[in-house]
């Protein structure tokens, strides 16, 4: 281990050795797309992939932040260290953001077993920021036993957490709608665990029954049937059940081979995304600078070439250049 540590760039080594200040600064650099952090990120990749990354998603106001706080408390009492990424929306108008997930965090001023980072979505759709995946991976490499990712309050199609988390918890509350809502596509499809939060409120038993019925409609040979757990952060109750439910899903991933399969799928999406970003940036730049490409664009404007043909030529060039 010492041999491998010795070859790490200084910032990566500091992160592995538990320097939280360097971790915090590196996260900022990742968020800002700072190219100087490239080597650090690359060198830490082999050290990640150990920690479960548990996504906490669901509509706004269902109590995700309070739940995350309760989960941190439970995991700490089990002796596990926890990294948290709390994502909140950026303004599409000003780029500004109020990041308030931290407000629910209980007093842990001297607990080095917890690291909480608030993150603005910065224009990304789907419930997480572009940097969320790499930041979760950094926390994993930094040695946290569990990484929790709290998404932006989600709508029905905000399922980007699927590309980040190994276990997805969809948090709901009583009276969100009748059982037909559970049949709708999107958010409900990504749940490994359903959590009916605020279960101290009337109607929670019905919500739980609807969800249990919904998961029972799935194929009988599915390897994993989503668990339904009721929680309240007020009473509090059900928090150990929630931890047990995502532990059970993680154990299932290991036993079934689903972990590697899920990882392969997510990494393929990530790599294609990185290529798309890079090629997109490159082409946008060249369309402005490169005379040949500007001429191609002129031809399209003059309607001598159509956009599909132009795109084909550009794509062929990009693939050859790779």
């Amino acid at each position: 281990m010492t041999g491998r540590t010795a070859r790490l760039p200084p910032a990566a080594r500091a992160i592995v050795d538990g320097d939280r200040r360097v971790l915090a600064r590196t996260i900022t650099q990742v968020e800002n797309g700072d190219p100087s952090v490239d080597r650090v990120i690359r060198s830490l990749y082999p050290r990640a992939g150990r920690a479960p990354v548990v996504g906490i998603t669901g509509p706004l106001g269902v109590g995700k932040s309070s739940l995350v706080n309760a989960l941190v408390g439970r995991l700490r009492s089990l002796g596990q260290s926890v990294g948290v990424v709390g994502v909140d929306p950026s303004s599409p108008f000003t780029g500004g953001s109020v990041l308030g997930d931290r407000i629910r965090l209980e007093r842990r001023a001297d607990d080095t077993g917890v690291f909480f980072r608030s993150m603005a979505s910065r224009g990304a759709a789907g419930g997480v920021a572009a940097a969320t995946r790499e930041v979760a991976r950094l926390m994993d490499a930094a040695g946290f036993d569990v990484v929790l990712v709290e998404t932006v309050g989600s709508g029905q199609v905000d399922v980007a957490i699927r590309e980040v988390a190994t276990t997805r918890v969809v948090v709901l509350v009583p009276h969100l709608g009748d059982e037909v809502q559970t049949l709708k596509a999107g958010l409900f499809e990504i749940a490994d665990v359903f959590c009916v939060n605020k279960s101290d409120l009337p109607g929670s038993e019905l919500a739980r029954r609807d969800l249990t019925e919904y998961v029972g409609l799935g194929p009988k040979d599915a390897g994993w049937t989503p668990r339904v757990v009721a929680t309240s952060t007020l009473t509090p109750s059900g928090i150990p059940d929630l931890v047990a439910a995502f532990d059970a899903h993680e154990a299932y991933l290991d036993a079934s081979g689903g972990r590697t399969e899920g990882e392969r799928r997510r990494l393929a999406v990530e790599i294609v995304g990185l290529v798309r970003d890079r090629v997109g940036r490159e082409l946008t730049g060249r369309l402005e600078r490169d005379p040949a490409l500007r001429q191609l664009l002129d031809e399209v404007v003059a309607r001598r070439i159509d956009p599909r043909t132009a795109a084909e030529r550009l794509a062929a060039g990009a693939v050859r250049g790779a």
Partner: protein, 140 residues
């Protein structure tokens, strides 16, 4: 390690916190909203924070700036403690500004101790935003 900004477009990150025991955070919320509308990422830490929690949050969140709001009168005890903790824990370069009910004589002493700007009741939001922006840019 110098604060790394990939581009000037990276938003300013600012922590807004209320140290001490008073339970009134309307002022802090108004300022948080104004800074948001000015394009900043505002980490809102909320009420009744200890100096230790505030400094911990500032370092984990890697903020460019800290804004403290206080109405309880305990500023002469809490603010210097926050500045000391920042120094000890490697956050010396993070500028701190404050707002609330702070008598002039106290304000002078706190500025000497290192609080970079102090806003009393009636300060315009434009002034707070402009000062916050220039403090963050000077520090980076």
């Amino acid at each position: 390690m110098a604060k790394a900004r990939a581009s000037k477009k990276a938003p300013i990150r600012v922590l807004i916190a209320k140290p001490g025991l008073d339970g009134h955070d309307r002022g802090a919320k108004v300022v948080a909203r104004a800074l948001r509308d000015a394009g900043m990422e505002v980490i809102y830490a909320g009420l009744r924070q200890t100096p230790e929690e505030i400094v911990r949050a500032a370092l984990e969140e890697d903020v460019d700036l800290i804004g403290l709001s206080i109405l309880s009168g305990a500023h002469m005890a809490l603010f210097p403690r926050i500045l000391t903790l920042l120094k000890v824990q490697g956050g010396r370069s993070i500028p701190v500004f404050a707002g609330g009910i702070i008598p002039d004589e106290d304000a002078r002493r706190l500025k000497r101790a290192g609080i970079r700007a102090i806003f009393g009741p009636g300060t315009s939001l434009e002034e707070i935003v402009t000062t916050a922006q220039s403090l963050a840019h000077r520090a980076s």
